[in-house]
């Protein structure tokens, strides 16, 4: 089986054998961890951008990128080089300090959340006792970056875009948080390793079908809104606000917002896959007659399960994006505060009752 945790252990033991000094080994390992996360982050962004452009094209009966490489595979690499080569325009009358700091906050918020994901058996970085809550908390920093970016640009479009985005992100964070809270009741732990281990026999969505399914749907809607895409893209509604809060950013500075947006899409899908669909756990049927079926499922590497689930959810999110028309801001806030919030609060109690009865 192609499992990467053995490989990591092998690196650790061979480094210890080769060098012997404890602190040098840790230092090398820190650098390796950093490089691993960095490259995974960048590669995922490239893949996501390509996948999105291709799938969107098929939804609209187009071909999408075809020129650079076979089936346009190298298009996003070419785009990355291009974005580095673009001029960074310096706008007068902006608050330069906040203008420069804002992309840092946005990227830190998304990267630190990314660092807490579990990609496969034993394949994870940050693993706090309060893992799930930590991810919710640190991903909420992105809002601050967006608000500061929009304000510092000294442009009316960016200001309106940032305000809308701020109101939308904070509102939808609530129902996303409450629907995850619902799942914490059944998992009994906030630690991501425990949460995934608890789904070895059956994913949580099958363990408490009704409340878990409601929570799953609410989380998908709220998470989708948190990525500022699809029907919820009014912070950057191009026909009204040009590009929303990052209108004045150019070159690579714009690239950071772009990067964070795509990776946030991945992170939301990954959290949904972890909490509801068992993370890297293979699909198991908890019955005697299914032992051989479970054995076959175990043959697929755990990281393949994880990425398979995540990309299935991302496909769903792209599908939603190109299916529904954009909401107005009053409809958006009504959906959150008058529909999703009450439902998720009731669902929380339903889950508590469910756990008590079954």
């Amino acid at each position: 089986m192609l499992e990467l945790d053995k490989f990591i252990e092998w690196i650790h033991s061979s480094l210890l054998y080769l060098i012997g000094l404890d602190w040098v080994v840790s230092l090398i390992e820190y650098v390796l961890i950093g490089v691993a996360f960095l490259s995974l982050y960048a590669v995922l962004a490239l893949i996501l951008i390509y996948v999105e452009r291709k799938i969107c094209a098929f939804f609209q009966c187009r071909l999408g990128p075809t020129r650079v490489g076979p089936w346009g595979l190298f298009q996003s690499i070419a785009d990355m080089v291009k974005i580095l080569l673009k001029e960074i325009i310096r706008i007068d009358k902006t608050d330069q300090l906040i203008f420069k700091v804002a992309p840092f906050i946005v990227i830190i918020g998304s990267f630190c959340t990314f660092g807490a994901l579990q990609f496969g058996r034993g394949l994870h970085g940050v693993d706090f006792n309060v893992g799930l809550f930590y991810m919710l908390a640190i991903s909420s920093l992105g809002v601050v970056g967006i608000l500061l970016a929009g304000w510092a640009s000294n442009n009316k479009y960016t200001l309106i875009g940032a305000m809308r985005s701020g109101a939308q992100l904070v509102s939808y964070e609530l129902s996303a948080g409450i629907s995850l809270l619902t799942m914490v009741i059944i998992s009994g732990s906030l630690n991501l390793t425990d949460i995934i281990e608890g789904q070895a026999n059956a994913w949580y969505i099958f363990q408490a079908p009704l409340p878990a399914l409601i929570a799953f749907v609410i989380y998908l809607i709220a998470g989708h809104a948190e990525t500022n895409r699809g029907p919820f893209d009014l912070p950057e509604a191009e026909s009204e606000l040009t590009a929303g809060y990052h209108t004045e950013y150019s070159g690579i500075q714009f690239g950071f917002f772009y990067l964070a947006e795509y990776l946030n899409m991945f992170i939301i899908a990954a959290i949904a896959a972890t909490v509801f669909l068992g993370g890297w756990q293979p699909f198991h049927i908890n019955a005697d007659w299914a032992a051989s079926f479970n054995g076959i499922m175990d043959c697929i590497p755990t990281w393949a399960w994880f990425f398979g689930k995540v990309f299935a959810l991302i496909f769903l999110s792209l599908w939603v994006r190109w299916t529904f028309p954009r909401l107005r801001i009053d409809q958006l806030l009504k959906l959150e505060w008058k529909i999703l919030m009450p439902i998720s609060l009731v669902n929380l109690l339903l889950m508590a009752v469910w756990v008590l009865i079954f």
Binding site: S26, L85, I107, G125, V126, N155, I185, F256, M341, L356
Partner: protein, 117 residues
Amino acid sequence: MSSGEIFIVVFITAIILVSAALVIAMLISPRSTNEQKGEPYECGIPTRGTSWMQFKIGYYLFAILFLMFDVETVLLFPWAVIMKSLGVMGLCSVLFFLFILVLGLAYAWKKGALEWK
């Protein structure tokens, strides 16, 4: 390796990612200035007045409502973790807690604070 150490590594990597990309872009990207490049982008029309002005109160209201419910979620996390072992007692105490908060939501709803005007 503890999670705290990895967290620091991830955090520093994020900062390095942004600064390295910025430095590379600064080195290889062209630079030119003229008066019009420095103007805020408003579809070609010269901008009027400043953008740093008073804004709508509606956003503030949603922010403060968010904060209240955020605190509520934070308080509920320890409860959710041990809900299974608490039993009916835990359910009742949270029922009361949520009932009072839902009163607040209902009040805001009735007063029309959740409407966007």
